[in-house]
Subunit: 479 residues, 2 copies
């Protein structure tokens, strides 16, 4: 049946892109209080899309749970839910599998605005790409799911499997709302497999499944010194400086060769298998090319003795994302600020637990805190690291669907980023997850000039159609 | 003759304060491009005040010299000049001395605004103080000079000495404009002594002359890593992070015990004399009291083996004032910024040269720059450290004037801050400088809730009247 749906998708492709542009125009920046209304508008747009696709029980689910109240950056953005559970039974009378589709409609902030070649919320086509904040992460990829469902429902009048859809609006701020929903109302998302469209391909034209993700803890480290801001001329040499203290602490978190110095940090981490390392070794990856064209720095950093893929997929890291405090305007102000805060995150790999890592970090910064300074570490959000088993019918179905669309074998990779909900699906729902993504390495995720390759948008829809079809096939489902 | 002028000043005191409030309402923040017009309004206000005081040749002097063009933070704010050079000759026919009065009408930014108890540009009286940005630094003190001149001219019809006045609008951004003017047109400021009203008293009710100031270099250190902002999940562990690099560099600039690690940094510095150290030892200063009530931190920092007064007056230091780059909004963004900048300053003591210190620092940061990062150090502004000789008739006149007004002996101290123009007066004009200031240690200079004790405003006017009178007296001038 998928061929009719694929035909529909190809016919309607231009309209799908035009709708995506409408969605991209909504600045649904989940971390920004001033965009609360925009985030909700985006949720409503997605709900409308699901309704017109023919999905049922479409609704917004509010996320202001007790657990998520008062978390910094948490605005209580709604979930969008839809379902279609009327797939005809298998020949043996048993039910077809249920697939849970997941994506997110919120986006990262667009700053720094001056570096965008076209405005972040005015989607612009150039060279076969669509440029906008959220183009690939994740509005474009989430919209592929919606359009795959529409194609199947409009072309065939039904879906080959039972489907539930959950789309969140807080992925970029830690996903507290959906995590709480999964904990409290997990049965409403009951499924045999989850399909997550929020990852990327290893290289252009190379169909890719992601089978591992790093976890993370995102923290704020506050340092306080004097009771008020002081003049550095009058007090410099006697008053503690929180910005200097943060620098001293950060410098002690990671050694010059990239090793994290928090005691016990590496305890219990699971190394990739020799087979996995071998497979990574045969991926088309040129470190010098990556340095030059993807990173663009004079040298790469990180731990000695590990390849770049190991360092970004299978090794924990620490990064600083911003420092708040003091004078940051143009020119000069000679202030010793009373307080300053650094946004510091750690990426975690399988074998590490976010709570445990945070506790170790917190203990360590208290130990190394300089004289005259008081530090406070706050956990903003966290996500479990995960590894997906590749030996199941769903991964097989995805592998085949992508291989058919791209005309070459699908490769397995890991991702260095975190999709916290995947950990929750595994832990709370015991639902295996397929991470089938269509981004490209140069899509500028979280950066200025984010883009989505339009050919991949269309191939993504087709791959999802074929995947659902394969999962629904009796032979495959029973294999 | 000063008694009539003192009488006038006492009579008119309320009006003087009311005029000062009008001046304080003008947000003449010299570092902020959006306040260029306000800065000029403040200059015009000062010029009008000098004119109505009876000063002559009052005019604004533009400072957009070649030397100051294109400097970050430099807006080309005008100087205000005035003179009165008709003092009657001494009995022996020789000319009376010429006194150059110096102050500044620009102010520091008022941020963080939320910490002000009353708005920074709505001067408010509480408990005998006037609260406003610039109250003590330096509008209030500069206005004392203008009002002292007015009192003498209105009460006596003339001044006891020849007077030139130069008021600048760029003191808080490095004073490039006045420095260039002094270099290029120094003869227009020719004087026998400069009186600078921009310092503070050591303690309430303790008449104080400042006889030394630290110099400074204010720098921006830019670190660049990747070509664009990157996602810390995907690239963390391989891409260099400029914020981490800045932390690593800053942590290496100063050891944990406050010693600056830049090679050669301390070469050639002049220690205070044993007599000076002894005098400092007898000042009313309680380190624990200072820590608790003035700084308000759990401990003081700085070099071992030096008292707080030595550390803040006679030892060089390093401070960080702000870090620009990455994500500093509310919540979380997992970005590895392509670039970040730290505002870093060093305070210098006699024997150190700003250009030399900057060159050493620049060389050192290039040496310790982490792998994958490119650093660039820029000098934003600098000022020479100075020590004033206490053995001249002008310091004697100032000492006596203050002692008479306060009814107790005047003490000599140094200041930890920098007034760059004082170095220029000494170097370019060979004009000795008297630093007679009326601020108090808790006046919140450069911080929220800046204030000026109103009693000191009036005592300052009286002290300046008496000082000018004494400098003009034949017996004193010839002593």
């Amino acid at each position: 049946m998928s061929e009719t749906a694929v035909g529909y998708a190809r016919e309607q492709g231009q309209r799908f892109v035009s709708e995506l542009k409408d969605l991209l125009r909504i600045p649904s920046v989940s971390t920004a209080p001033e965009h609360v209304g925009d985030v909700r508008r985006a949720a409503e747009f997605v709900a409308a899309g699901l309704r017109s696709a023919g999905m049922e029980q479409v609704r917004l689910i509010e996320t202001s749970t007790e657990a998520s109240q008062g978390r910094p950056g948490h605005q209580g953005h709604p979930l969008v839910y839809a379902e279609w559970l009327r797939a005809e039974p298998l020949p043996d009378g048993s039910a077809r599998p249920t697939v849970l589709l997941y994506g997110h409609y919120d986006v990262q902030p667009a700053e720094p605005l001056e570096e965008w070649k076209s405005p972040p919320f005015e989607p612009t086509e150039r060279d076969g790409n669509i440029y906008a904040r959220g183009a690939v992460d994740d509005k474009g990829q989430m919209w592929m799911q919606v359009k795959a469902l529409e194609s199947l429902l409009k072309a065939d009048g039904r879906l080959p499997v039972n489907v539930r859809v959950i789309v969140e609006g807080e992925e970029e701020v830690g996903g507290e709302g959906i995590a709480a929903f999964v904990r409290e109302h997990g049965e409403q998302l009951k499924a045999d497999v989850a399909l997550v469209s929020d990852t990327e391909m290893f290289a252009p034209e190379l169909p890719t499944l992601t089978v591992g993700l790093r976890g993370m803890i995102y923290t704020e480290l506050e340092a306080r010194g004097a009771a008020t801001d002081l003049h550095s001329g009058m007090y410099g040499g006697a008053a503690p400086n929180p910005l200097v203290a943060l620098a001293q602490i950060i410098a002690q978190l990671k050694t010059a060769d990239g090793h994290i110095a928090v005691p016990g940090f590496y305890d219990g981490i699971e190394e990739p298998t020799p087979a996995e390392l071998e497979a990574w070794g045969s991926l088309p990856f040129d470190e010098e090319e990556y340095r030059r064209h993807e990173v663009g720095s004079t040298a790469l950093t990180g731990e000695e003795g590990y390849s770049v893929l190991e360092r970004t997929w299978a090794r924990p890291t620490m990064d600083v994302h911003g420092v708040v405090g003091g004078f940051t305007g143009v020119g000069a102000k000679t202030v010793i600020p009373a307080r300053a805060t650094a946004k510091i995150s750690f990426r975690l790999v399988p074998g590490m637990k976010p709570e445990e890592t945070f506790a170790r970090y917190k203990r360590f910064v208290a130990q190394i805190c300089p004289r005259g300074i008081q530090v406070k570490a706050t956990l903003i959000h966290s996500g479990d690291p995960i590894v997906v088993s590749t030996d199941n019918q769903y991964v097989h179905a995805a592998t085949e669907a992508m291989a058919e669309v791209f005309g070459k074998p699908t490769v397995f990779v890991r991702g260095g980023g975190s999709i916290p909900i995947v950990g929750d699906f595994v832990r709370e729902l015991e639902t295996p997850t397929v991470l089938m993504g269509f981004g490209l390495p140069d899509d500028n995720l979280h950066a200025p000039n984010e883009k989505f390759h339009l050919a991949n948008f269309h191939r993504g829809i087709e791959s999802i159609v074929r995947f659902l079809d394969k999962v629904g096939e009796p032979a495959k489902a029973g294999s």
